[in-house]
């Protein structure tokens, strides 16, 4: 009995971690290639959730899947606007200046979302096939969590293939270490930057759209995610997608098991885990691109 609880708790934790990974993957990708600390990533995530809500409620009962498709794409488009209109002017500025700009965007988005969508609570129902739960080891695992888990794995594999198998991925990795040199070799790094930012934004939007059926969609969900996503990115090794995967899973499983053993510390778990990892491995779990 206790063992099955442990196992199911662990499994749930992994599925929680996977959702975090989808968001953090975009963040670490942007960080790794553009060297921009994009605070507005959480805002894009929030935007993804709100857009998914709007699309789904516009289309009615069959709206879920189109929403999963359209919302991230719209967020990607918004990201393109941000990159072309703003970020590309500050790439060679100090990181703190980039933080300032993206933090400014966070503030702007938080009010914009409220202006556009109002203040009421919003929520989106999972599609019928993903509602309810399956019983695993005596635990009720929501189907939707399993779906998230699968999507997380897909994203991880997709990113791996992209970064290590495609030429574009190789160019991204090259740009990550030396942008000017990529230009010198005739590749337009500014396009690479734009593409990566859009991809990262798309992932943020996807993350937002994906969690929309499990949470209440509110202004403020940007702030909740961004700190945890940053913890993931840093303890995984800045810019390292695999690091982000590993640390998301550790955080997810750690928090979930924490609920079992030390429930009073739930608030502190992510920070506690992050602090312990950083003290043991001062430059993150896996190799950083820095």
């Amino acid at each position: 009995m206790h063992l099955t609880l442990l196992a199911s708790q662990f499994l749930i934790g992994l599925s929680v971690g996977m959702t975090l990974f989808v968001v953090a993957a975009g963040l670490t990708l942007i960080f790794g290639v553009l060297r921009v600390i994009n605070f507005a990533h959480g805002s894009l995530y929030m935007l993804g959730a709100f857009l998914a809500y709007s699309v789904a409620s516009f289309l009615g009962p069959a709206g879920f899947w189109p929403a999963m498709l359209i919302a991230p794409l719209v967020v990607a488009l918004v990201s393109l606007g941000i990159e072309r209109g703003l970020l590309r002017f500050i790439y060679d500025r100090e990181h703190l200046i980039q933080i300032l700009v993206t933090y400014g965007l966070v503030l702007v988005f938080s009010d914009l979302v409220q202006i556009v969508w109002g203040t009421g609570f919003k929520s989106l129902a999972p599609p019928p096939g993903l509602a309810g739960y399956v019983t695993v080891w005596g635990a009720a695992l929501p189907r939707y969590n399993l779906f998230l888990f699968a999507v997380g794995i897909l994203v991880a594999v997709g990113l791996a293939l992209f970064l290590y198998r495609t030429r574009m991925g190789k160019i991204c990795r090259a740009t990550a270490t030396d942008r000017e040199m990529v230009d010198v070799l005739g590749v337009r790094s500014s396009r690479v930057f734009a593409a990566v930012f859009v991809l990262g934004g798309w992932l943020a939007g996807l993350g937002g759209a994906l969690v929309a059926p499990t949470v209440s969609i509110t202004p403020g969900m940007d702030v909740t995610i961004i700190i945890e996503a940053f913890l993931v990115v840093v303890i995984g090794g800045l810019g390292n997608v695999w690091g982000a995967l590993v640390s998301s899973l550790i955080l997810g499983a750690g928090e979930s098991l924490g609920v079992l053993f030390l429930p009073r510390l739930a608030v502190a778990w992510p920070f506690f885990i992050a602090a312990v990892i950083l003290i043991i491995k001062p430059s993150g779990l896996l190799k950083s691109v820095w």
Binding site: A174, E180, L185, G186
Partner: protein
Amino acid sequence: MLAVEEIHSYYGLSHVLFGVSLSVGEGGITCLLGRNGAGKTTVLRSVAGLTRVRSGRVVFRGETITNTPVHRLVRLGISFVPDNRRIFPDLTVQDNLAVAWAGRPPGAAWTIPMVYGLFPALAPLAGRPGGCLSGGEQQMLSIARALLGSPRLLILDEPTEGLAPLVVRELEDQIRRLKDMGVNILMAEQNLKTALRLSDYCYVLDRGRVRCHGTVAELGRDPEIRTRYLSV
């Protein structure tokens, strides 16, 4: 084929080049000499589009290319090998070349097998991350990448810096071979022996200005130049 006309360049507020003019003719190796901080790197970077030229012109094959975006220069036939080589450390040798291949201009003549042919030492290293190469290997890779742009003008910034003598020798041979293949070369070089052995024409820079220029033999006639810049 390349004419630099009275360029002035700055780093931030500091004025570094004061009206530098030079030209590179067809079919030779042109060398920039001068003490540290004379502005050699800055001249090369200005030509390669990496440092903004505030005034003056750079003309390449009849076309004004002042401050053209870097990636477009590759399309026009200018490739640049920077002084610190700038290999992508996480990418393998093969992938380093693949990135350059992605940036090649349409109709480029050089292929990856061809550059392996020129630098046979690189072939067995194809799968090794660039960051693990020795200095000499990195230099070869850096030139190999640049060649994939099929340049008409290859710009080399201190190609032999920090290389062991044996490697310097090999590199010289390869540069000479490139020249024979019709690649024009503009380079900065502090290793005088190498510079004197390779160059057809020299410019001596001093504090951001061209001090004098000529063939090695011509320059050697001025005793002051000879002792200050050419004596070994």
